[in-house]
């Protein structure tokens, strides 16, 4: 029986799990009028209870180290342990963000050098490490676009162009930044349709958000022409760095004509996903846009690093302090470990892996675009759909084989989308095992479709009633005992 207790259900009145030194300082009473009327109901458990509880809870999760995790668009690569050890050094973790700069030159060097390395990799002039995640970086980038046009008194530019294959955060970020979203059509291979683009470019265009390769793993080979068209129309180009992995060291977004981009350190640069963060979404810009970067800014003068808390032309502050510094430390360690020798190797092997899996399964799964891809590609469900087995069913059946499913139903271009990204750390043996398993499931779909439609069968829980959760949300422990 899998462990099934909430920490509150392990509570026993009077148990404690903490230890604090006894203070020699006397009690200073607080005015009763300021106090809360009832103490919060927090767990009362021993230290061992806590360790047992969370250990058992962890067993119900599939991590990257558990098994293959080909989640397209997420770049689930190995998170090196050494990066954990080094970023946990007390000399970094015990620093208050307002310590005098002379006392924090070590961490400032890491931040500054990371900014520099990201510049060199991407071909953009300067970076800010303040944004906390990719979506946050997108928002910052879009704000820079807005402030740029405002600085030129060009207030009519209210539209951001987004391909219909884009990740949901792109239009959401554009709307948050106060823009209207205009979609541009794709060609059959998912790349931007130039004629459609020409049709939407005009004096109200603020910019375009693109990722390259796009969300189907296709390189936008017309990118230089797209950049020229957008710039001629007076717009700026924003690069969503989620798909940087296959072009690192081989091509630079700055050279393609992008003016602003974000990078996902938790994707390309191996920092842990953490179940949904903390990530980091550094934003890079061309020299012309450098003044707009958010405050505060890390700078260097001679051999000395310092922080400018205020910056006149900046879009302002988008974080309390300097971003997810602990995450940046890990990315720095990754960059120094791989160095210039191995980044492009990572890129090439991620592309090799994706093409290998694609070729090996295209006689079983429907491949809408039969071309060389980069680090990821999309299948449109099974070729033989006669028994009604969907991408959803196949994904759930993969769980029974200890494999995390690919991304389901994204991008929206295909009805039964399945986006597969087999990162560079995965060996041919792992890929062969995945290929074999997918073929077995495809056979099961024909010989025993009900079994597949009712999968998973061996996971800690089976298919869930998501309707019930949405109709009658129970979102805290008190809701269960009410």
């Amino acid at each position: 029986m899998a462990y099934d207790q909430l920490i509150f259900e392990r509570s026993q009145r009077g148990r404690i799990g903490y230890s604090l030194p006894k203070s020699e300082i006397k009690e200073y009473p607080l005015d009763d009028a300021l106090k809360r009327t009832q103490a919060p109901t927090l767990p009362e458990v021993s230290e061992f209870d806590v360790v047992r509880h969370f250990t058992n809870v962890s067993f119900k999760n599939h991590g990257i180290e558990t098994g293959f995790y080909p989640l397209g668009s997420c770049t689930m690569k190995y998170n090196p342990k050494i990066n954990q050890d080094l970023s946990n050094m007390e000399a970094f973790t015990s620093l208050h963000p307002y310590q005098p700069v002379e006392t924090v030159q070590g961490v400032l060097e890491v931040l500054y050098e990371t900014q520099k390395m990201l510049s060199r990799i991407s071909g953009l002039d300067t970076y800010s490490l303040n944004p906390y995640a990719g979506a946050h970086g997108e928002l910052v980038g879009l704000m820079i676009i807005r402030h740029y046009h405002a600085s030129k008194k060009d207030f009519a530019r209210k539209k951001i162009i987004v391909p219909n294959s884009a990740h949901g955060t792109n239009p959401a970020s554009a709307a948050t930044a106060g823009f209207d979203v205009v979609e541009v059509a794709s060609n059959k291979d998912g790349t931007v349709n130039i004629e459609s683009l020409k049709g939407v470019l005009n004096a109200t265009t603020a910019g375009i958000m693109l990722t390259n390769p796009n969300t189907i793993g296709m390189f936008e080979k017309d990118i230089m022409e797209i950049a020229t068209l957008v710039h001629e129309a007076g717009g700026l180009l924003y690069y969503d760095g989620a798909n940087l992995n296959p072009i690192m060291g081989l091509a630079r977004p700055g050279d393609m004509g992008f003016d602003i981009m974000h990078i996902n350190l938790h994707k390309t640069f191996s920092t842990p996903h953490g179940g949904g963060g903390p990530g980091s979404g550094p934003v890079g810009v061309t020299r012309a846009l450098k003044p707009f970067l958010p405050e505060p800014v890390i700078r260097k003068a001679g051999n000395h690093f310092f922080i400018d808390q205020k910056d006149e032309n900046s879009i302002g502050r988008i974080s309390h302090f300097y971003g997810n510094v602990g995450v940046v430390l890990k990315a720095y360690a990754f960059l120094r470990t791989n160095g210039k020798e191995h980044l492009s190797e990572i890129a090439k092997l991620s592309t090799l892996n994706a093409n290998y899996v694609k070729e090996s399964l295209k006689d079983t799964f429907k491949l809408p675009i039969d071309k060389y891809c980069k680090h990821e590609f999309v299948f449109d469900g099974l070729i033989d759909k006669s028994t009604g087995v969907t991408t959803y069913d196949i994904s759930k059946r993969l769980l029974d084989y200890g494999i995390h499913p690919p991304t389901m139903y994204f991008p929206l271009l295909y009805k039964e989308s399945m986006m597969i990204e087999p990162v560079e750390n995965e060996s041919k043996q792992t890929l062969d095992h995945f290929i074999k398993t997918m073929k077995i499931i495809a056979k099961e779909a024909l010989s025993d479709p009900d079994m597949v439609k009712n999968a998973p069968h061996t996971t800690p829980v089976k298919r869930l009633d998501e309707v019930k959760a949405a109709r009658d949300p129970k979102v805290k422990f008190k809701d269960l005992i009410a």
């Binding site: 998501e466 309707v467 949405a470 109709r471």
Partner: protein, 125 residues
Amino acid sequence: MKTPKELYYQETHEWVKVDGDHAYIGISDFAQDELGEVVFIEMPEVEDQLSKDDEFATVESVKAASDLIAPISGVIIEINEDLEDSPELLNEDPYENWIVKIEIEDKSELEGLMDSDAYQKMTSE
């Protein structure tokens, strides 16, 4: 898919039932099928002014949240409160379970809407 003959429809899948100077507005069978099981409906309030082509409500399922577009203009005189407790009624019978009742402002706006044959044709493509 059911497409009752006496109703008006629009491309965004709302229907209108005229009742004298009043009209009932709801979503079609096609719409509820596309959405899947409805979990919540965000409704406007009585006395709100509905203008043609405005968003006036949102129907939410597990996988989507659809904004409803007003097919004609008018003042809301009644909302279907049963849907607040039992949003699944929209799946059970989307025509019986209307969403809002309005006082029609301009009957000529009905001319721009589709009849059941035209809507049926559109949704079968």
